[in-house]
């Protein structure tokens, strides 16, 4: 069983990330029976079928996809993945904040892809609360990345008040 960081702890996890292989399409790919994060395109193409099935599912967003097309569907998901195809691709930070702050999504947001210790602090600040740390990395060591800083200047999901409002208090 793989492990992830969730709510600041290392826990076992059974969710799989479905990716379309070469030649597969959103319309025709077989839906897994095990708990899976589905590509956005699969969700958009086959909502009714997915909702009618008994499987546990969530959706994952590629870094360029953004949350807008999912906005009306959020109640269906206990889990949304945001992908970091490369850790230096920072778009999913905005995606996560929008999910939390604009669309009030309260379920789990999981970072998937190139998820590394040194970005966890920023990810957490943007509302990501689960981290599928890259498999070749030491997840115990990565956990420390959540605590790199004890104070921050900006308002974000983890601390809605900027430092200047708290300094003044």
């Amino acid at each position: 069983m793989s492990k992830i960081i969730k709510n600041d702890r290392i826990v076992d996890d059974t969710w799989q990330v479905l990716k379309l292989a070469e030649g597969e399409t959103a319309e025709t790919v077989a839906l897994p029976a095990t708990p899976s994060l589905l590509p956005l395109a699969v969700w958009l193409a086959r909502k009714d079928e997915i909702l009618a099935s008994n499987a546990s599912f969530g959706v994952w967003l590629e870094s360029g996809e953004g949350p807008e097309t999912l906005a009306g569907d959020l109640d269906h998901f206990a889990l949304i993945g945001v992908n970091f195809p490369k850790f230096a691709d920072g778009r999913s930070y905005s995606t996560a904040r929008l999910l939390r702050e604009r669309y009030n999504y309260r379920g789990e947001i999981r970072a998937i892809g190139d998820v590394l210790q040194d970005q966890l602090f920023y990810m957490k600040r943007c509302g990501i609360d689960a981290f599928a740390v890259r498999a070749d990395k030491d997840i115990e060591a990565a956990l420390a990345g959540l605590r790199d800083f004890s104070e921050t200047y900006q308002a974000a999901v983890d601390q809605p008040q900027p430092l200047f409002r708290r300094r003044a208090a």
Partner: protein, 569 residues
């Protein structure tokens, strides 16, 4: 100036610890070089031609004397006793050891300094007018605005991995000395009709491969909305800026692709969700920060000082220095002084440890213990009594800091170039040196008068060559160093991109070409014209013609008809 409270200090201390751990993990093999790269860049560490280069942040160019002394000490202990000031008002150390960089950052933290976000695809050091707070033409002191922005941008969780670097500059004076129109975002502090302070927002400016003048995206933004609006603007850029091609990834490409109206509309739409939220700046916070920039305890002095005027009358060398290096101050009896880091034979912007200590001593003795770095790569003492100027000059001269060339031909902006920088296509410092040798007669360069000459060793344009009256760009053609010349660029309120005059030149030709351009000006000028005025009146043709006249005799041209690689694509 701004002093850290315990929270600011703790954040910087934690940054040092984080970086130390990253370097340890890299040396232990658990953090790869590729994974470390963006992390070290966001701590100012490049791996250069000869080894690492560390770029230390000097927020908006302001330094305390004690900080400069620490830089001197660091340069002696960890480098080769020399530092280099950059056009972002930062300091680069060119010879640190990789393993020792955590120690250096630790040393910096003891004097409230760091190297945070001096590189990488993030919000970089905020720059402003080197005369901020004392300039007679300023509406208000821009430094509190810069410090507000520094704190907001430091470790901003959403914008640490932007498509590309992001540079912000602030100007609050009638004359823009911060080149705000050549920045990703330029902020001009203004008052609206009701007298409220705010900013005019420019976006999409930048030099580099594709020079673009910033466009106005908002005519007036009240101060309290500064941060929420920038959050919106950066979010639009973070989401939609190109990431497929690093040469097309700056915000200027996005602004041009969408058109400024559509870009502004998207920012406004995004902002409508953020406006009036918790990030709305409070007056209390602004005043807390502004209090750090309260004017020092100026004496009440007459506007002029007899001893000072006497020294001007009796000492020609002093008078020449005053003419170029001493600037007006908003307080009677005071002046600002630019210490030139452009002495002949020195690399432009370089300062030795001994000079750093001398400047720190001058700041302590004559300028309330503070100083500035200018984007032209000089050092400024902002608050000198006129009656002390003669003493300051003598002390500065003893340390080769009083070359009377500020604003003149040899006050060149120059990047480190191919001697040091891994990105460079060609060397810059030897070109600066050759120009210095060609124009070694001070009377002659005083006669030429106000002119800007900037040199960049590659398209990245760190030397701001696009906005110089005469710009020199190093280009690589078949592994040879060539130099493309632009004429007619300007910074300030009339920021203009210079025009390429034609095929590029060999290094040996450059000083003669500069002389040819200068000669056109000297022959054609009217008594009141600066170089740029004559250029604007005559256009590029006479300059172009003279630059290439007799070229075949000077040096055989290998490929005169090949298509030029140009920075204007």
């Amino acid at each position: 100036m701004y002093r850290y409270d315990s929270i600011d200090q703790q954040i910087i201390n934690e940054r040092v610890a984080q970086y130390r751990g990253q370097i340890e993990r890299n040396l232990a093999g658990t953090l790869s070089d590729d994974e470390l790269r963006p992390l070290r860049l966001q701590n100012g560490l490049y791996i250069q031609r000869h080894g690492p280069m560390l770029r230390i942040a000097i927020p908006y160019g302001q330094l305390a004397a004690a900080q400069l002394r620490k830089l001197a000490e660091i340069s002696r202990r960890y480098d080769r006793s020399i530092g280099h000031f950059t056009t972002r008002q930062n300091m680069q150390l060119n010879w640190p050891k990789f393993e020792e960089t955590p120690e250096i950052l630790g040393e910096l933290a003891t004097v409230e300094m760091h190297a945070v976000q001096t590189s990488g695809n993030c919000i970089r050091n905020i720059t402003t007018d080197e005369f901020a707070g004392i300039a007679p033409d300023e509406l208000t002191d821009p430094r509190p605005w810069c410090e507000v922005l520094r704190q907001w941008s430091t470790f901003h969780p959403e914008f640490a991995f932007l498509p590309r670097k992001f540079k912000i500059a602030v100007n609050a004076a009638a004359e823009d000395r911060a080149v705000i129109r050549a920045h990703d975002v330029g902020l001009e502090v203004i008052r609206d009709e009701a007298g409220e302070l705010g900013v005019r927002v420019f976006a999409g400016g930048g030099l580099g491969r594709t020079p673009v003048i910033g466009k106005i995206v908002r005519e007036f933004l009240p101060r309290k909305h500064l941060l929420s609006y920038l959050d919106a603007l950066l979010r639009v850029y973070n989401r939609y800026g190109r990431r497929d091609n690093m040469y097309k990834a700056r915000i200027k490409i996005l602004v041009n692709a969408l058109g400024v109206e559509e870009f502004s509309r998207q920012v406004e739409e995004e902002w409508s969700f953020l406006k009036d939220g918790p990030t709305t700046l409070t007056d209390d916070e602004f005043e807390r920060i502004a209090a750090h920039f309260a004017p020092p305890a100026y004496e009440t002095l007459p506007a002029d000082n007899a001893a000072f005027l006497g020294a001007i009358a009796s000492d020609k060398a002093f008078a020449a220095w005053v003419r170029r290096s001493v600037h007006a101050h908003k307080v009677s009896g005071y002046a600002a002084v630019t210490l030139s880091l452009k002495a002949p034979g020195a690399a432009p912007g370089d300062i030795t440890d001994v000079q750093m200590e001398a400047v720190a001593d001058l700041a302590d003795r004559y300028s309330f213990g503070e100083l500035r770095v200018s984007h032209e790569q000089n050092v400024v003492l902002t608050d000198v009594r006129k009656l002390d100027l003669y003493e300051v000059w003598k002390a500065a001269r003893a340390h080769a800091l009083a070359t009377p060339n500020i604003g003149l031909l040899t006050d060149m902006i120059c990047c480190p170039g191919g001697d040091l920088c891994a990105l460079a296509n060609a060397r810059s410092i030897p070109i600066a040196d050759a120009i210095n040798k060609k124009f070694d007669d001070l009377d002659y360069i005083h006669d030429i008068g106000d002119i800007s000459l900037n040199i960049s060793g590659c398209m990245n344009s760190c030397g701001h060559h696009h906005v110089a009256n005469i710009g020199i760009l190093g280009v690589d053609k078949n592994s040879e160093e060539w130099y493309q010349i632009t004429v007619g660029g300007q910074q300030g309120n009339t920021t203009t991109i210079g025009k390429v005059i034609g095929p590029s030149f060999y290094a040996e030709e450059v000083p003669q070409v500069i002389e040819a351009l200068i000669n056109v000006y000297l022959e054609q000028r009217t008594p009141s014209e600066r170089f740029i005025d004559t250029f604007d009146r005559l256009g590029v043709e006479p300059f172009k013609e003279r630059a290439y006249a007799g070229r075949d005799k000077r040096r055989p041209v290998k490929s005169a008809n090949t298509v030029e690689e140009t920075a204007h694509v």
